[in-house]
């Protein structure tokens, strides 16, 4: 499955990129699976997507949870708590 990944704000700075296209293995079915798969890259990825960190996630521009399913071609974003207004 191919996914469009987006990173914003402090997460973007930590991982050193704002966007990438990733081919994920067949057992990555949910947003939580994807987060764990990216974390396994180690280094800044393990830090930026650490389990205890208050991160927010979105699939195709809608707020997502760890159990939100992924579909081929979807856009998945990881970002810190929002601070607009």
């Amino acid at each position: 499955m191919q996914l469009e990944l987006r990173y914003f704000a402090s997460v973007r700075e930590q991982v050193g990129q704002g966007a990438e296209r990733a081919e994920v293995p067949a057992d990555v079915l949910t947003v939580g699976d994807l987060r764990a798969w990216l974390r396994a890259r180690g280094g800044v990825w393990a830090e930026a997507l650490a389990e205890g960190r208050a991160l927010r996630m979105a699939v195709d521009h809608a707020v997502a949870r760890a159990e939100t399913p992924l579909a081929d071609g979807c856009e998945v974003a990881f970002f810190p708590p929002v601070t607009g207004g």
Partner: protein, 165 residues
């Protein structure tokens, strides 16, 4: 309906004039403007950078407007949020709401701001006069402000929507 994300400044008078133009049913307009302060958590702020998630931001703001319209009989809503490089005294965000009576306008304006603070994908980075940059932390009090309206938010707190269980 007007939802805009832009680099440029905005003019309250012009926005309100457009909001109530040719609408004879409007009897009340309430507005809120958020501006950049020169001090944040005790530290001087010389500039602020505002980042957002193009595509999701507009959808989130439209969803917030729809939620407000579902609760109050509104005759017009304008939401303008700036992004890019800002400095103290600059305007950041405008919410203006038109309705027949003031109660709906006041309430909806506050509701939209509370919702935006916890659910619209914007991020602020503050730079101090010595050049140190810091991402602004989300506030638990903003989640509480949204909860007053009966909407659960876990933006700043331990997030059911964000944490792996």
């Amino acid at each position: 309906m007007t939802v805009r994300v832009q680099l440029a400044d905005f003019d309250l008078g012009a926005e309100v004039a457009a909001l109530r133009a040719d609408n004879r049913g409007v009897g009340a307009v309430a507005s809120f403007i958020g501006t950049v302060r020169d001090v944040s958590d005790g530290a001087r702020v010389s500039t602020m950078e505002l980042e957002h998630y193009p595509g999701m931001t507009e959808k989130a703001l439209e969803k917030i407007e729809a939620a407000a319209r579902a609760r109050w009989p509104l005759l017009g809503v304008t939401i303008v949020h700036r992004v890019g490089l800002l400095a103290p005294l600059d305007q950041i965000v405008l919410v203006a709401v038109a309705s027949a009576h003031r109660g709906s306008a006041f309430a909806a304006c506050e509701f939209i701001m509370d919702y935006l603070k916890s659910e619209a994908p914007f991020w602020k980075k503050e730079v101090t006069p010595d050049g140190a940059a810091k991402w602004v932390d989300a506030r638990v009090s903003d989640d509480a402000a949204l909860r007053r309206w009966g909407i659960e938010s876990f933006n700043a707190g331990s997030s059911e929507s964000g944490q792996e269980q």
